[in-house]
C-alpha cells in the first residue's frame, strides 16, 4: 500500500475507535471479562454486585448487611459455544439487597444503566471495583442473553419511599432505557436492591466464593437464600467483627509507576497547567515544584515548556535516575490480624490453630501495597475445605476480593507453595501438600494490584510483593511451628497415660503373683495421677 493509504486506514480505525462506546466494547468482549461460561458468569455477576454493595456501605461507615437471593428458574436458553451446536443453560434470578447509603433518586438510572469508561485512568485508590468491570456490564450481559430488564430499588436515608426502576441499556447510544419508574414503600431505612436474570450454572464455587469473601471482609453479614433445582436453602455468614476497616485514600500516581504513553496522554489532556513543571507537581505524588524543576533539568527540558510538549520518556528516565521518595503508604485498608483470625475462627470453628500476620505497608513501582497471610490448621471444617483442593489449599484475596481462578499462575499461591513448610514442622505428602489439613490465606491490598492479565484472576510476580509475602508466611510459619511443637507435647501426654497404665499393669500383676491374690485394680491410682478428665 502507498503511504497515503496507510495513513487513511489508520485514521479510519481511529475514528471507529472513537465511535465505539463502552457498551459496544463490552458487548464485544464479554467473554474475555469473565462471562465465558455459565458457571463463571454467575460468579462474576455475584462478585460485581457484592463489590458495589460493600463499597456503598464502607463509604458511609455502615456495617454491611447483604441478602443474596439466587433462584434457578424453569427457563432455559441456548448459549453459543465453540462447537457451534450451542449449549443449554438455566436462567437464574439473582437479587442482592444491601444496607448501603442508597442512590439519590435522580441518579439511580444513570449509575446502573450507563457504562462509564476510563474514570480511573489517573486516580489510584484501593478498591474492589478496580478488579472488575462494573455492575453495568453485568446488566448488559443479562440483557444480551436473556433479553430481560434489570430492576433497581434504592432508598436514601430520610426519604419516605424508595425509587424502583426497571431498565435496560441502549447499546448503540450507551444510554439507559427506563421501562418502569415508580416510588414504592420499602422496609429498608436505606440501601439498594438490584435484581436481574442471567444464564448461569450454580456450583459449590458460589458458596466457597462467599466464604472466602467473608474472610477478606470480616465486618460483613451475608445471607444467601437459594433455590436450586426446586430446593430452597439458606446460608448465613455472620460477621466476625463489628470493627469497620479503615477507609482507603486516593493517591496521585507516582512517576515510577506510570508508563510513557499514559504520561503523554495525561499531559495532552491537561488544559489547566501553564508549564510542564506545574503539571508534574500537580498530578504526581512526591513531586514538589522544586523536584519537578530538577526532573526537567535532568531531562534537559525547559521548566516552562507547555505540558502538551512533554517528552515523556525523558521525563520518566530523569525521574527514575533521581530516585524519588516512596509514595505515602498509609492510604490502604487492610483486613487486620485480629480480624483475619476472627473470620477464620468464624468459618472454621473447630480449627485447632488459627493465626494471621499483617506486614506493614510497602510499595512497588510507586504503588503502595500491603500483604497479609493467615492460616487455619486442623479440624473438620478445614479438612473439608482442603479436600476439594488438589494441592496446597490457599485462599487468595486481592483488595479483599477472592480470586477463584488461575491458581497456579498467581503469585499469592506460588508464594505459599514455594515455602518449604517442613522447616516449620509441617509434614508434606508425595505431592508437596501437607499431610494434615492446613489452609492458608494470602492477601494483598494495593492502590493498584498488578494482575497477570486483563482478566484479573491472578496476581503477577513482583519482587517487592513476593518478598513481603515470604516474610509474612515465614513469621506465620514460626508461630505454626511453636503450635505444632506444643501439640507434640500434648500428644506425648496421652502417650504418657498409656505408658503409666502399662507399667501399673505389670506392677499389679507382679504384686498379685507375689501375694498369690487377684490382680489389684490400679485405676484409682491412675485417676489420682492424671485427674478424672484426662483419664476419660
Amino acid at each position: 500500500m502507498e503511504a497515503d493509504q496507510l495513513r487513511q486506514a489508520a485514521e479510519l480505525e481511529a475514528q471507529r475507535m472513537r465511535e465505539s462506546n463502552p457498551a459496544q466494547y463490552f458487548e464485544r468482549n464479554l467473554h474475555q471479562l469473565g462471562f465465558s461460561d455459565p458457571e463463571h458468569a454467575l460468579l462474576q455477576t455475584l462478585k460485581e454486585m457484592i463489590d458495589n454493595s460493600l463499597d456503598a456501605t464502607e463509604l458511609a461507615n455502615i456495617l454491611p448487611e447483604l441478602r443474596l437471593d439466587i433462584e434457578e428458574t424453569q427457563d432455559e436458553i441456548t448459549l453459543p459455544s465453540q462447537t457451534g451446536r450451542g449449549r443449554k443453560a438455566s436462567i437464574y434470578r439473582v437479587r442482592l439487597d444491601d444496607n448501603g447509603v442508597g442512590i439519590v433518586p435522580d441518579k439511580v438510572t444513570d449509575s446502573i444503566g450507563k457504562l462509564l469508561f476510563g474514570s480511573k485512568l489517573t486516580v489510584l485508590k484501593q478498591s474492589r471495583g478496580q478488579q472488575g468491570i462494573g455492575i453495568s456490564a453485568v446488566v448488559l450481559y443479562s440483557q444480551l442473553t436473556t433479553l430481560r430488564p434489570t430492576t433497581v430499588i434504592s432508598k436514601v436515608s430520610g426519604n419516605q419511599k424508595a425509587k424502583r426502576v426497571v431498565l435496560s441499556i441502549d447499546v448503540e447510544r450507551n444510554e439507559p432505557v427506563v421501562l418502569e419508574d415508580q416510588e414504592i414503600p420499602w422496609d429498608h431505612e436505606h440501601g439498594t436492591s438490584i435484581e436481574l436474570f442471567l444464564p448461569g450454572k450454580y456450583s459449590d464455587k458460589v458458596e466457597r466464593y462467599l466464604r472466602e469473601l467473608a474472610i477478606g471482609n470480616p465486618h460483613m453479614r451475608l445471607t444467601l437464600a437459594k433455590k436450586i433445582a426446586g430446593e430452597e436453602s439458606e446460608l448465613l455468614l455472620e460477621r466476625a467483627t463489628d470493627h469497620m476497616p479503615p477507609l482507603t485514600k486516593e493517591i496521585k500516581p507516582h512517576l515510577s509507576s506510570i508508563d510513557a504513553g499514559t504520561l503523554h496522554r495525561m499531559a495532552e489532556a491537561d488544559d489547566d497547567c501553564r508549564t510542564l513543571a506545574s503539571f508534574l507537581s500537580k498530578h504526581f505524588a512526591m513531586v514538589s515544584g522544586k523536584t519537578a524543576r530538577r526532573i526537567l533539568q535532568v531531562a534537559k527540558l525547559p521548566p516552562n515548556l507547555k505540558p502538551k510538549s512533554i517528552k515523556a520518556n525523558r521525563v520518566l528516565e530523569a525521574a527514575r535516575n533521581m530516585k524519588l521518595r516512596r509514595p505515602k503508604l498509609d492510604v490502604l485498608s487492610h483486613i487486620g490480624e485480629d480480624e483475619l483470625r476472627a473470620s477464620l475462627r468464624n468459618l472454621f470453628p473447630d480449627a485447632e490453630f488459627v493465626d494471621a500476620v499483617s506486614r506493614p505497608p510497602w510499595s512497588y513501582q510507586g504503588i503502595p501495597f500491603r500483604v497479609e497471610a493467615a492460616v487455619a490448621m486442623g479440624g473438620q471444617a478445614v479438612a473439608a475445605y482442603g479436600e476439594q483442593q488438589r494441592r496446597m489449599a490457599v485462599i487468595r484475596l486481592a483488595n479483599k476480593v477472592p480470586l477463584p481462578y488461575d491458581l497456579s499462575d498467581c503469585e499469592l499461591y506460588r508464594g505459599v507453595a514455594e515455602i518449604d513448610w517442613r522447616n516449620y514442622g509441617l509434614e508434606l505428602g508425595d505431592k508437596g501438600a501437607p499431610t494434615e489439613s492446613v489452609l492458608f490465606v494470602a492477601s494483598i491490598v494495593a492502590s493498584k494490584v498488578p494482575y497477570t492479565s486483563p482478566g484479573k484472576f491472578a496476581v503477577a510476580r513482583v519482587t517487592e510483593i513476593h518478598d513481603e509475602l515470604t516474610l509474612a508466611l515465614q513469621e506465620l510459619g514460626r508461630r505454626m511451628r511453636t503450635h505444632i511443637q506444643r501439640r507434640h507435647k500434648e500428644e506425648s501426654a496421652t502417650k504418657r497415660l498409656e505408658y503409666f497404665r502399662a507399667y501399673y499393669e505389670v506392677l499389679a500383676e507382679e504384686i498379685a503373683n507375689i501375694m498369690g491374690t487377684q490382680k489389684v485394680d490400679f485405676e484409682g491410682t491412675i485417676r489420682r495421677l492424671f485427674g478424672e478428665a484426662e483419664v476419660q
Partner: protein
C-alpha cells in the same frame, strides 16, 4: 557379733512385705512410693570406728508418679516376684539370668544393658536389707576351703578336709550354709592357688590345726560371706597375699568391705588380719634373695599405689596401710607368694619355711600360737 542367719521362709516373708505394701497402696487408689538408702558413692561413708564402709542416711525414692521411676518400680516388683518364686523351688538365679528374665517380661521393662538390671538387684538388696544371695541371685562360685571344718548345707553336712580334690568349693550362695564345727585355731585366707595347694599337700593344715582358704585373686562374694561367717563365729582369720598394691586392696576389701557393697554389711570381716606378705618381710624372711625375688613396680602398680593412698580404708590402723603403700613408692619393687620357693635348696625345705612363717605371723598378727 554374730548375725542370725535368716531362713528361706523369713526371706520370703520379707519379699512379701513389699508386695502387700504396694498392693494396699494401689487398692486405696494412692500412688505407690518406695524409699531406700541412696546407692551412690557420695552416700558411702567409711566408719572409722567400725572400720568398715557403710551406706549413709541419704535416701532415694522410687515414685509411682514419675515416668523415670516407674520402670524401676515395676522391675523391682518383677525381681521380687522372680526371687520369691525361685526361692520356693530352690532355684538360683545369676545376674545374667535375671537380665534375660527382665528382657523378656514386657517391652517396657527392657533393660538397655545388664548394668541396668544389675542396678535393680542392688536396689532390691538395699530395700529388703538382704544380700542378693539371700533371695537367690547368686554370684559365680570361686575359691576353696580346706581343713577340719564341718559345714551344714541345706541338704547335707560336709567336712572340708574330706571333699577330695582341691577342698570344699565355696558356692556362689553361702547364705544358707552354717559352720557346724571348726576344729581349727585360725583360718588362713590365701590369694593364690599354688601356695594353697602346697600347704594342703604338705599336710600343714593338719599339723598346725588351721583351715586354709584359696581366694583366687579378689575373693568372690560367696567367699567374702564365708569369711564373714568365720569372723562372726570368732575364728581368727589371717590374710596372706602377694606383696603388691593390688594385693593390699584384696586384704583391705576383706577386712573393711568395699564401696560397691557398702549396702551389704555382711561382706566384710572386721576380725580378719593382714598377715603378709608385708614390706618388712623382705628384710626379715628374704634377706639373702632380696635381689632375686624383688621385681620392678610397673606404671600401673604405681598408679594403684597412689590410688590406695587416698582410699578411706587405707587410712586406719595407725598408718600401717599408708606405710605399706609408701614402701612401694620408695622402693619401686614388689614380689609374690611364690618367692618362698627362692628360699629352698631342696623340696623338703619348703614345709619348714611355710610353718615358720605362718607360726610367727599367727602369733604376731592373730595372737594365736600354733
Amino acid at each position: 557379733m554374730t548375725e542370725k542367719v535368716m531362713s528361706v521362709e523369713e526371706v520370703m516373708e520379707r519379699l512379701e512385705q513389699l508386695g502387700s505394701q504396694l498392693g494396699e497402696t494401689l487398692s486405696k487408689g494412692d500412688v505407690p512410693s518406695v524409699q531406700h538408702r541412696r546407692l551412690s558413692k557420695s552416700n558411702v561413708k567409711f566408719d572409722l570406728n567400725l572400720h568398715t564402709y557403710e551406706l549413709g542416711e541419704d535416701s532415694a525414692e522410687i515414685r509411682g508418679d514419675r515416668k523415670s521411676s516407674l520402670k524401676k518400680l515395676a522391675a523391682l516388683a518383677f525381681l521380687t516376684r522372680v526371687s520369691h518364686e525361685r526361692l520356693q523351688i530352690g532355684l538360683s538365679t545369676t545376674k545374667r539370668d535375671y537380665y534375660y528374665l527382665q528382657k523378656s517380661r514386657h517391652p517396657l521393662l527392657m533393660p538397655s544393658n545388664q548394668a541396668e538390671s544389675d542396678d535393680i538387684i542392688r536396689v532390691a538388696e538395699v530395700l529388703h536389707d538382704l544380700s542378693r544371695e539371700s533371695f537367690g541371685v547368686v554370684a559365680q562360685s570361686k575359691g576353696y576351703l580346706y581343713g577340719d571344718i564341718t559345714l551344714r548345707e541345706p541338704k547335707m553336712t560336709v567336712n572340708c578336709a574330706q571333699t577330695g580334690g582341691d577342698g570344699y568349693s565355696v558356692p556362689g550362695n553361702v547364705e544358707y550354709i552354717d559352720i557346724k564345727s571348726a576344729n581349727i585355731k585360725a583360718l588362713i585366707a590365701i590369694e593364690k592357688e599354688g601356695i594353697y595347694r602346697n600347704l594342703m599337700e604338705l599336710g600343714i593344715p593338719e599339723k598346725l590345726k588351721v583351715g586354709i582358704a584359696m581366694l583366687g585373686g579378689q575373693p568372690s562374694r560367696g567367699m567374702k560371706r564365708m569369711l564373714r561367717k568365720f569372723s562372726d563365729s570368732a575364728h581368727p582369720i589371717g590374710i596372706l597375699t602377694d606383696l603388691n598394691p593390688y594385693s593390699l586392696r584384696i586384704a583391705a576389701n576383706i577386712i573393711y568391705g568395699s564401696i560397691q557393697s557398702a549396702h551389704i554389711s555382711k561382706l566384710s570381716s572386721a576380725n580378719a588380719k593382714f598377715i603378709g606378705l608385708e614390706c618388712a618381710d623382705i628384710d626379715r624372711f628374704f634377706p639373702k634373695v632380696k635381689r632375686v625375688v624383688l621385681e620392678p613396680l610397673t606404671e600401673e602398680d604405681l598408679k594403684a599405689t597412689n590410688d590406695n593412698i587416698s582410699l578411706p580404708y587405707m587410712q586406719g590402723d595407725e598408718g600401717y596401710w599408708l606405710d605399706e603403700n609408701q614402701w612401694f613408692i620408695d622402693n619401686q619393687k614388689k614380689t609374690e607368694l611364690e618367692a618362698f620357693n627362692a628360699l629352698t635348696k631342696h623340696a623338703r625345705d619348703l614345709e619348714d619355711i611355710y610353718i615358720q612363717y605362718i607360726r610367727e605371723k599367727a602369733r604376731e598378727k592373730l595372737n594365736v600360737s600354733l
